[in-house]
Structure formats: structure tokens, C-alpha cells
Subunit: 222 residues, 4 copies
């Protein structure tokens, strides 16, 4: 309910070129909301139409099939949130020549937290549907996951060179960090949003990761 407005706002971010009419934005955001609540298959196009306050046929003017409507969701996400919310700050973080890994990590966690909490319904739909749509999977892998991992790896190497990070393969480190961050965010913002979140929890997460791969960890002695 509260998301309704912010979801439309988010989608509007992907509409810099004004290629989407307001009706289309209503359709897309209604679809996201319903898909994330009931699942893609369990949502009828007639429900989407009703929620978006358009005729059912109108949906199909903009999206040839229901599946196309689903596929439009990650596209909007990547056009909007990813490059706006995410990459904007992210590049800043990345370009900042941090001396300190802890500072860097803290910024990343905060940034991801903001990203996940803002795009929760969109992410939920994508995560739900990825296993059943190979096209979707490969698109996400190629446009989001692989580039991010690659980016992350180069940053990790930099800190490794500075002796601030333990000597594990960079990909392994990335996987561990990503798992920790997203595992945490997934549980709190997507899977069990009703779970109470303590202010300090995020700080503990950072400490945990820092210890886990920081150079002053016991691993250095191994």
C-alpha cells in the first residue's frame, strides 16, 4: 500500500525519455505489486487491469503477452533503480580511493540496504521467477550479476594488495560477502519483512564480514 506510490516513482525513474504513458506505468507497477503478492502465475491479467484502472485489452497494447509484462520488470529495474539509485552512488563509492576497507564495506552495505528496501517488490518478483524463465535468468546473469562480481573482484584485489584482506581467491571472497549481505537483506526485507530489525544488527553484519575476511583475522596465522 505504502509502496504503491514509491513503486510508481521508481518506475518513473526508468522513464527519463518519457516513453511510457501514465497508463503504462500504472500497468507495470500494478503488475509488480500483484506478482510480488501472489506470484506471476497466480495473477490474472484481469486483476492487473482492475488495479491499474485500465481495460484488460489495454495491457496488451503495451505488452504483447503476459510474459512480456514480466520481462519488462527487470528492464525497468535496470533502467531505473540500478543505474540511478545503485550505480550512481556505487560509482562514487568505487571511484573514491578508499584507504580503509571498513569504510568501503560500510558504504556498500548501507547502499545495498537502501537499494533492496526500495526495490523490494521488484526484487521479489525477479527472484521468484528466475528459476522458471531461462531467458530471464541469462539476462540477469549477464547484465547484473557478472558485471557486479567483476567490479567487486577488482576492488577486492585492490584491498588485497594493500594487505587489508585475507588471502582467499577473490571470487570466493566476493561470494561470501554477497551471500552475507544479501542473505541478511533478503531475510529482513523480502522473505520475512515482519521480522523486527535491530538498529545494531547492520553494524554486527559489518563486523562479521570484516572479521571474516579482514587481514587481522586468524587466517593470517594459518
Amino acid at each position: 500500500m505504502i509502496q504503491k506510490k514509491s513503486l510508481k516513482d521508481l518506475i518513473n525513474l526508468s522513464n527519463m525519455d518519457n516513453s511510457m504513458t501514465e497508463k503504462q506505468i500504472n500497468i507495470l507497477s500494478s503488475a509488480i505489486e500483484l506478482f510480488s503478492e501472489k506470484g506471476y502465475e497466480a495473477t490474472a491479467t484481469s486483476e492487473i487491469a482492475k488495479k491499474a484502472k485500465v481495460a484488460e485489452g489495454t495491457i496488451f497494447r503495451y505488452y504483447k503477452t503476459k510474459k512480456d509484462l514480466l520481462f519488462a520488470i527487470p528492464i525497468a529495474l535496470s533502467k531505473a533503480s540500478l543505474f540511478e539509485i545503485f550505480l550512481e552512488d556505487f560509482n562514487e563509492i568505487l571511484n573514491d580511493n578508499h584507504d580503509n576497507f571498513e569504510d568501503f564495506l560500510r558504504k556498500i552495505v548501507i547502499n545495498r540496504k537502501k537499494f533492496v528496501s526500495e526495490t523490494a517488490p521488484i526484487l521479489k518478483v525477479i527472484i521468484q521467477e528466475i528459476p522458471f524463465h531461462p531467458e530471464l535468468r541469462s539476462k540477469i546473469l549477464n547484465t547484473v550479476i557478472f558485471p557486479s562480481v567483476k567490479n567487486g573482484t577488482s576492488i577486492i584485489e585492490r584491498f588485497k594488495a594493500k594487505g587489508q584482506i585475507v588471502d582467499m581467491p577473490s571470487t570466493t571472497i566476493i561470494n561470501l560477502i554477497i551471500t552475507s549481505i544479501f542473505g541478511y537483506l533478503f531475510i529482513h526485507h523480502i522473505a520475512l519483512p515482519e521480522l523486527p530489525e535491530n538498529e545494531q544488527d547492520i553494524e554486527y553484519l559489518i563486523q562479521y564480514i570484516l572479521n571474516g575476511i579482514g587481514q587481522n583475522s586468524t587466517l593470517k596465522n594459518t
Copy 2:
């Protein structure tokens, strides 16, 4: 394909009282396979019947509705694998009065890895459908998650008392550990089973967790 047989075997574990006929086991295991491949909503009962080599009507003799068939999956899991595979060893692990947290952790990780890889299709279905079926969610939470967390907490406290674990709230620690372990297993065994898994990866995971919460971590200095 390989799972096909072990899936039926697994389900048979939940059939200690022989309350299920072979037909019923076929139905349930066929359903699990198809649900995990195509999703619950996208699977037709007629497909399940065909795969199980029974008539469509027969399904409804055992399970009043399609939803009941879905709900039978976690029940079978909890009757079978959970208390057999999982708790069996788990209790052993738990009752073993380990002096060393690292040994304990390693056993847990190995045990969970075995569990996840053996029950992958079942877990996949449950994870997929949990968000859309509150009844399912609360059942899983109450019978699986909360007891496990509670169990885990008491163990954690023991090691804390021994001074082997960092001073964070026990629930936080449990969450971090669970997230790390399941995040790792989820990625390798459920989400992206095609991803190559290095022998050493599991060892790195253990190290990472150990460092993350071990008492010789920097946190002690904070």
C-alpha cells in the same frame, strides 16, 4: 534424473507407518519433481498423474485438492528427512559435548550440505511457495525455523560461555551463521546448481564463519 530414485526413497522415509501406498508415493514424488521444475501454479494435475502413472482422479483420492498436495510436501519432509537425516545426526552433533567450536561448525556445515543436496527439489518447492501460502509459512516457521534457531541458540551460548565466540547477541550470531551456510548452499545446490563448486570452497566458508565470530577476531578489541 538421478534424484528421481532418491526422491522416492526420501519420501519413503516418511512412510515408516506404511500409511502411503506406492501409488501415493509416486504421486507425491512426481509432484515434487514437477513443482520444482515448473513451479506449483504452472504444473497441471494431469501432468502429475501422467508422470506418476495413475489416473487423474486418483490424485484426488489421496489429496482433496491440488493445494493439499503441495502442503503434503513439507509434511513429508519433516516426517522423513528432517527428523531422519537431519535431526538424527544433528542430535548426535548436539549431544556430543564438543570442546571445540571449529569442530562443531565443520560438522554442522557438512551435515547441512548433505541435507540440502539430498532434499534440493523439496527445498526448492518450499522456498518457492512459502511467500504465497501463509499457512505454509507459519507451519514451516513453527516446526522448522524456530526450533532450529532455539536449538542453535543454546549451543551458541555454550560456546560463548567457553569464551570461544565473540560477544554478539546469540540470535544475531545464529542469523549470520545460517545466512552464510544457507546462502552458500542455496547458491550452489538450488539456485545455480550448474556453478562449479571447488573442493576448497567449503573450507573457506568455514574459515570465514570462524573468523567472523571467533573470539580471536578483532571484535574482542572493540
Copy 3:
């Protein structure tokens, strides 16, 4: 209306192996009637269901798609009428070693007249839809037209050898005869069934064809 019964009877002829249930026969004959009245595209499957007194879904148990239902029509025709009504007598006619072309022609015309008048609605559907379904066209050409022409040609050659038929290419003769017979029948039984048909008309048709290709025609002098 009168055809309703005879149409079902006709289709039953194609059901020697009892492979069709009564429901299926109702569906097929209802489809033929409606298709011939309103055209294939203009007939809704719901109308067919209503006329056949079955649920709409039942149609699709027997015929996977509406198009399959259309294609079942010539198949039933060829199984039933063609090989029963038509070929039965036709082979008799053909095997009778007629000395007289006129006798032969008269029998053919009578036989075809019976065939066309009995299968009028079926033929109407086929004629209507042939231009829009290449699969249908090639099937009809290969199973009905070409064999018939070939058969006819050999008979024509026999009468030519006996000097009873004018010296034109046999295929041309066949085409002219077929055109005359079917043109006549098409007009009277399919296109304009309301047109009054005189008893003598059929006799005139026979005379016309006889004169047209008979050896005592003027062409012998050319």
C-alpha cells in the same frame, strides 16, 4: 434440419471400429452443420458445444484445437462416404465391363448426384475452407482428386480404344466431364439448393456430356 439425422448417420459410417463415442459424433456433426451455415471462422466453439449438448471443454478432449475439428471433417468423409457410398458403387461401376459409354456415364452421374446430395454440408465446408488451409488442400488433392482423375483417365482410355469417345487428351476430357457434373451438382445442391430442379435436367446434362465428347460428335470431322 432434415440433414441433422442423416449427417449423424453419415458420420457413423466412418465409425465402423466404434472409435467415436456418441458425444464425439454429436460434436463433429454439429460442427459440420454450423460451419456449413456460418463458415468456420464465424462459428464459435461455444455454439458447437451448445448444439452438441456437451460442455465446451469436452470438444477439446476429442479435438485438441478448433482447427483439428475442421480437419476431422474430410477424414470422416473419406472414411465414411467416400469409401462406403462412393467407392462401393463406384468400383462396381468401374469393374462392370461396360460396352456402352452412355450407360457408364449415366451411372456415374446418378452415383455422384446421390453422393453430393447426401454429403452436401460436408462438401460445402470443405469447398469453403480449402483455399485457406494448405494442409487441407494438399490432403484432398492427394487422397481424393488425383486418384479420382487417375481412375477416370484409365476408364476414358478404355472407351477411347473402343472408338466411343472423341480424340482429346484424356485429362482434358476428365476435366470437362468433372466440371460439368460437379458444376451442375454444385449449383443445385450446394450453392443454390432453393433453385428448382427439373426431373429432366439430369437427363439433359447426360446428353450434353455425351454430345460433347461422344465420337459421333462433329469433332470427328475436324
Copy 4:
């Protein structure tokens, strides 16, 4: 493809009063082409609009409904081709006080052949749709068929009086001739245009008809 231009030209013939804009001509000729390829019901107005390069709404400015667009086709035909191509020459033929039935027949056949081959797509649409639109049927019957038959009858009577034609009812004769000519043309130009047409075929057709009803036929002896 080749017809595309000549179709527009043909329709333009019906536009002596310039009552149709170029857009309208495009719409009508696009409709004819598509109707003849896919059938009336299977053609969407949106396709017509696309082919005619106008907006969907524009079609309905000129033709209130899709059916009106269909009915405009025979009207255009009768305004244009029929009275131009057909009747123009036809009246000439008719007014020529032929002494010889054979000459007359040959002219008719040639004239009809030209007519049919030039207006093939238009005729195809009309023939296809006549059975399903009573309004269309009665219009065609009254404006084309009955006048033609009547015309033909009077000519036939003239040749009968001259003793050049066999003694059958004139209507019967007309039907036989029309059937032969149109049966031939229908097969070669509409139903199976891919069928090879021999130069001599048309000559055989003429001979066939001549023999069929000519006074030197055997019927005189009957």
C-alpha cells in the same frame, strides 16, 4: 503482387465520379487482397489499415462497419469491371448480329476468361462470402446473375431459331454453358491457379460446348 497495381486500377474504374479518395481506394483494394488471401473473418481491420497505410480509425470513416467494407466490393465490381470490362464488350458481342454460334461462343469464352483473370481476387472474395451473407447473395443474384441469364436466354433463342442449337430448354442450355465456362475458369484462375493451363485447352472447351449443344449433335436424331 502483380495484381496489386491492377487491383487499384480496377477499383479506380469504379471511381469515374471521383467520389473515392486515394485513401479509400487503398483501403478497398487492401481489403480485397487480404480477404481473398485469408478470408473475410480471418482478416483483422488492423491489417487492412496497415496494408493501406492509414490509421485504423480511418477505415471506419469510409465504411461504418467491417461488413460494409465487404459489401463495397461487389458494388465496386459492378460499377467498374462489370459494366466496363464485361458489359462494354459484351454488349458489342451481343449486338453484333452473329450468324454463327461458334464465333459467338468463342468471343464469349475469351471475354469471360479475360474478365475472370483480371478480377480473380474480387471474384474469390465474393464467391467465398456469398453463402454467408443473404444480402450479398440477393444483390448479386439480382444485379448480375439474373440479368445475365436473361440476356443469355434471348441470345440462345435467337440461335435456336436459326436451327444452330439443339432443342433443350433455354435455361437449361444457359446453365450448362455457364457451368462449363465458369467451372473451367474457376478451376484454372481461382481454385487452383497453380495448375498448368494448356493453350489448346480453351479450344477444347469451346469444341466441347459446341458439340454439347450444337444442332449437328446426335440429339437431333433422338
